[in-house]
Every structure is written in C-alpha cells, then in structure tokens.
C-alpha cells in the first residue's frame, strides 16, 4: 500500500460525506427549534423529496420520463389508509406493507409498458395511467371515499418487545428522517453499483447498451419497480403524517410537480430532487403569501427559465462527482 503523497487534495467523497452529515444533523435539530408550521414543512419537504428521488431513478438515471408518479404515490397513500382503517389497532407496519404492495403492483403494470414503449409514448402512457387511476379513485366512492377521501388516525410507533408510543410531530419527523435517509443510502448504493452504471448507459445510448449484450428490458423493469416502491413509500409517509388520503394527490399535477422538483434540483443526482422539492415548496410558501393561488404564475415562469438557462438544475453540477 503506497503512502499518500503530501499535499494530495481530499477525494470528493470525503467532502461529500461531510456535507451530507451536516445536512442530516440540521434536519435532526430542525423540529426542536422551528415553530410548528415549519416543523411540518420540514417533514413535508422530506416526503416530497423522497417522491422526487424515486422519480429521479427513472428520469435522471435511466432516461425514462414518467408522469405517473402520482399513481404510485396515491397507491401508497390509499394502501396505508386501507390498512389503518381495516385493522384494529392501526398498525404502522401493516400500513407500510399495504402501501408498498399496492404501489409495487402498479409498478409491475407500468414496468410492462416500459419495456414495450419508448420515450414519448412511455411518458404519455404513464400520464394516461395516472389519470385512469385518478378517475377510478374519484368515482369508486364506496371504497375510496371519492372526492372526500379517507381519514384515519395515526398509528403508534411499535417495536415489538421494546416500546409502543404515540408519535409527536418531533418524533414523527425523526421517523420520517430515518426512513428517508435509509432510502437515500440504499438507492445511492444501487445507483453506484454496476447495476446503476448499466442504467446510466441505457440513458446515454440505449441501442448501444443493448448491442453490448445487456438485457435492457430487465434493467428497465427493475428501475421502474424501485422507482414505484419508493414513490409508494413516500405516499405511505404522507398519509401517516396527515392522517388522510385524498384523490387530489393522485391527479396528474402531482406527477408534474415531481418532475419540476427533479428538473429544478438536478436530475441524476439523487440529492437534487430534495433540493428541488425544498426550493419549490419554499418558493410556493413565499409567493403564495403575496399572490395567494396565483403563485404558480411566477413559479411556472421561473421553472421555464430554469429549463432554458439552467437545465442541469441547482445541484446538477454535482452529477459527475456523485456518480463517478
């Protein structure tokens, strides 16, 4: 093992982990120092960030645009609702399970299409799919509560044998933080692996990747499954935080917003989506104070300007370093 020559610059990895650590610590402290409104806000950023990250697996790494994430999110949400309404006492584990299974099933369905349709056709079909789902949820009132959605109570955090206690907004925030950080680390591990490299190769040049001998279909299927599962997970978390499930969140606009988070934050970075979500949500918060529901006009314009002049997004410059 050779000794490191003196004066050699730190590898990017160390700087990255330091930055990461700082952000996590800040997020841990956040609920303790912020007023209640901003506490919830911070938790929401995490949840939406997770959803956007799941989308990044497809858009940023595999090069497949999906407008269907509202469906996965919605299925996670309604799946959790189903568990919490049908089982007494409401169980956290079961909510997670139902939500993930529901989202996973949808992901299988979408994955089938992913292998048969390319690019724009895939994007349109995911859009259509999420709308079909919306229509079903909206009109199947007996099961889904239709327009009004479903309300339920938050389950306790139960670790069998250890403890069982209600969540407080602070502990819930930490719970979400743990889930999100673990998810992020897991997805990062996957995208840095040979599997992830193949995905990126598909994004860069699909025909060539196929010609080299990779079963592009299989990789796409796994990518869609992963994306769908984590999107579903974010839906479960959202349901748990807000104690309701509503069709609004399944409407296509949510998918659109997710894509906006990706673009604003930087595709193909995994952390970009979180930054994008935070940026968008903060802007929305700020702008709507002055402009009420018309905040979307300047926000939309900012989005368009970013696409034209800053296509790599806020953190896009990190893409190379994060994915070397």
């Amino acid at each position: 093992m050779t000794a490191m020559p003196a004066g050699r610059p730190r590898s990017p990895a160390v700087g990255y982990w330091i930055g990461f650590g700082v952000v996590v610590v800040l997020l841990v402290i956040a609920p303790l120092v912020l007023p209640p409104f901003w506490q919830r806000f911070a938790t929401e950023i995490l949840v939406w960030g997770l959803l956007a990250m799941s989308s990044d697996i497809l858009i940023g790494y595999t090069g497949m645009v999906s407008f269907g994430h509202s469906a996965f999110f919605g299925l996670g949400m309604y799946g959790a609702a189903a568990a919490l309404l049908t089982m007494k006492p409401p169980s956290l584990g079961l909510a997670l399970l139902y939500g993930l299974v529901a989202a996973g099933a949808a992901a299988v369905f979408v994955a089938y299409f992913a292998t048969r349709l390319r690019d724009i056709y895939f994007a349109i079909s995911t859009l259509v799919f999420s709308q079909i789902f919306y229509v079903i949820i909206f009109t199947w009132t007996e099961v889904t509560g239709g327009e009004n959605g479903l309300t339920f109570s938050q389950p306790r955090l139960t670790i069998p044998g250890l403890w069982s206690d209600r969540f407080t907004p602070v502990t819930f925030h930490w719970f979400v933080l743990v889930v999100v950080v673990l998810s992020y680390l897991l997805v990062r591990r996957i995208t840095q692996s040979p599997f992830g490299m193949v995905l990126q190769s598909i994004r860069e040049n699909e025909p060539r990747t196929r010609a080299i001998g990779y079963h592009v279909e299989r990789y796409k299927i796994v990518a869609v499954m992963l994306s769908g599962l984590f999107a579903g997970l974010s839906g479960v978390l959202y349901a748990l935080q807000n104690k309701f499930a509503a069709p609004d969140f399944v409407f296509f606009v949510v998918s659109g917003e997710v894509v906006i988070f990706n673009v604003m934050g930087g595709m193909g970075t995994l952390v970009g989506p979180f930054a994008g979500a935070a940026f968008f949500l903060l802007l929305r918060e700020g702008l709507s104070r002055f402009l009420t529901e018309y905040y979307l006009i300047p926000l939309g314009i900012i989005f368009i300007i970013m696409i034209i002049f800053l296509p790599q997004g806020l953190l896009g410059f990190l893409r190379r370093r994060l994915n070397a």
Partner: protein
Amino acid sequence: MDQIIIQTLHGLVNGMVLAMVASGLTLIFGIMDIVNFAHGDLMMLGAFVGASVVGVTGNYWLALVVAAIVIAVLGALLQITTLRPLIGRDPLTTILATFGVSLVIQKYALWQWGPSVRRISEPVPGDFTLFHLQYPWYRVATAVLAGLIIGGLWLFLKYGKYGIWIRATTQDRVMAQAMGIPVPLVYTAVFAIGSAMAAASGVLFGPFAGVTQTMGFDFTLRAFIVVVVGGMGNLGGSILASIFVSLLESYASIVVSPAQAVIVSFVVLVLTMLFRPTGLFVPTPK
C-alpha cells in the same frame, strides 16, 4: 335506440371539435417534434377571449376570428421565447417547457377571468328534428364549421407556396434549409397556426359546456390520445381517430358516467401503443 342516435350525433360533433384541436397538435409535432402540453390551454384561453368578445360585442363570429388571431400571436411569441432556445436539445425539455407554460396559462386565466364559468351563447338558435328527436342546430353548425376549417387547412398545406414549405420542412428540415426555406420562421408560423386552430375550437366548443380554466387539460389529454392513435404527424389519421374515439366515448357514456367514459379512450390508446404504435389508421410500415 334513441340514446344511440343522440350519442352518435354527440360523438360526431365532439369528434369534429377534437379533430380541430388534434390537427394543430399533430401538425406541430410532425414538423418540430414538440409535444405541446399547453395545447388544450391555448384552446381554453381562446374560449375565454371569445367569451369576452361576445360579452362586449354580442357577435359570435367576430369572437371566433379575434380569438384565433390573438392566440395565434401568443402562440408565436411562446414559440419564439420558450421553444426556440430548446431546439436541438433533448425532446424531454420541450415537454417540460410546454408543461410549465400550461401551468402559467391556467393560472393566468384564473387571475384574468375569475373562477366562475363563462358562457358563450349559441350562435345558431333552435333544434332540428331527426325522426322524433331534437338536436341543437348550433352543434351541427359547429361540426360543419370545424370540418370547413380543417378542410381549409388541408387545402393550404396541399397547394400554395407556404403549404409546400411546411410539408418540405416536415419531411426533411435540413434539405428544406438548403433550398432557402427559412425553417425557424416556418416553425413559428406552424405553431401559430396550431394555436389558432386550438383557440377557434375553444370558441366553437364554448356553447357546449361553458368555459372554465380546466377544460384545457381534458382536451390536451384527449388530443394526445388521438394524435398517437391516428399516427403522429398524420393529419388525416388524427381526424379519423378523433371521430372514432369520440364515438366510442359517447357510446360508453350510455353505460357508465361521463367521467368514467374517458377510460375508454385511455384503453384505446394503450392498445394502440402496444399493438400498432404507428397508428391505427396508418398502413403497417413494411
């Protein structure tokens, strides 16, 4: 039986309006590979402008012309400012950009005209009788007018110097440039034409159901479906597909609620994409 006749008429009429929207969309896609997410919103904006003109002058036909011109100009400006800079980039960026435009237009319409539904009164009063059923004349007039406008578009493309420019640019952009055709200008013009058609169909559709901010999205979605089913870039195909899909939806609404009838269109789209992705009405490529 009565229902079937009524729904057939509905399907045909709605199909013609949809065909007008879709022809603009497919023209734009065929020539510059842009999936215009904001297309339905341009229709909605045209409907609002039309409603305002009718409100002030009481003249439906003037509203139709003014809306078409105003939105054509808007479309041209949009193309120049947001889409021209994106030429040559990943097609994904144009979908995103037009999605952004769609959001801005929807909220702008809300801001400008408020949340209440606007009405455009029927240009041609009265019903006509088919067997023992009544059907409003203005709907028939709408279908006929839509047909005339689409026919006019077809003639313009087939004959006339600019029609040749557009068709040449659609087939081979690079060679068209080499022949001296000002392709960037052609792009802007086509986008303006597509926008004008969307706006006109908005005014035509106005009397059917009232004018609201969200009417655009439904049409955008249906127009996408129709353009894919008809063959992207294929004008005749998208017209046939519009009628086909509208008829199916109308018949479906006899059995299920109108909100759910839209699923029929989705299913048609999915089946088309899986089994005949070049379009249902396009001969199978060899």
